[in-house]
Symmetry: C2
Subunit: 156 residues, 2 copies
């Protein structure tokens, strides 16, 4: 689940195809990478077992969901409050609009990526959930104008 794992060219091809369309049928997936369906099935199952594949998720269009504003919230905690971290994470993840949380090095302790209906909803989220907490010293909002995902899988 966490050590580096040997991946041959078939594994890498499978992962690349699943990155492109995770709901492809096993038969089509097999055809695309040039193995038999049974082999393909066993390979994908093995990649899940070995922890290379964590799961499969739908990619949603935030605008279609009604969210027009995406942002990063850069959060600085007050010093020496490590005990507050787990409940902060848990409660923040439960908050609608919160997409990802990153615990970082550097001047900002956390970055929270959010996606909300509009600027009012952003303001409400920041004021009601973040700035009211004693363990939070500062919150900076950086709006996301545009984003791009992807990049090849191979070695760095």
């Amino acid at each position: 689940m966490s050590a580096a794992i040997e991946l041959d060219s078939v594994d890498l091809a499978l992962l690349a195809e699943l990155q492109n369309d995770a709901r492809i049928s096993n038969k089509d997936l097999a055809a695309r990478v040039g193995v038999a369906p049974s082999t393909c099935l066993a390979r994908v199952q093995r990649l899940r077992q070995r922890g290379v594949i964590h799961g499969f998720r739908v990619v949603l269009d935030e605008k279609a969901l009604g969210n027009t504003v995406e942002a990063f919230l850069a959060i600085q905690m007050t010093p020496h409050n490590q005990a507050f971290v787990p409940p902060f994470i848990e409660e923040t993840l439960r908050r609608p609009g919160v997409r990802e949380i990153f615990l970082l090095t550097g001047p900002d302790d956390f970055m929270v990526r959010v996606s909300v209906q509009d600027l009012n909803a952003l303001q409400r989220l920041v004021l009601e959930h973040f700035t009211t907490r004693r363990e939070i010293a500062a919150v900076q909002t950086r709006l996301i104008f545009q984003s791009w995902a992807g990049g090849p899988i191979g070695p760095t």
Copy 2:
């Protein structure tokens, strides 16, 4: 593909299930949300057509892929170089290890999320791809200690 779209409770339930496991069979998906398989199939197809669903992706374990270091690179561009943006984005996306790029408001123009083998690979990526570019004024590296994903889908 970009305006807000009416989603009823069945749509939201489907999206929640697909967020949890995008490779669930149509039959199981139908059973989980309490509709007939044919209805389920039509609903998911409609969500794709209306652009609510962008696609389905595999979620990989970076450590299992051999990547032990994840980081954000906060990048400041030199002023008035908008023409450099599209080629910068394109070439950065092609670079192995680059996962996401965000164009932001605030002091940092871009945030690039990367995932690489080790600190040497990170150093190489930063020095070879970023700091050598004339259009880039500064790069700050913030290592990611830990991250969490998720949160409910509903309205904000």
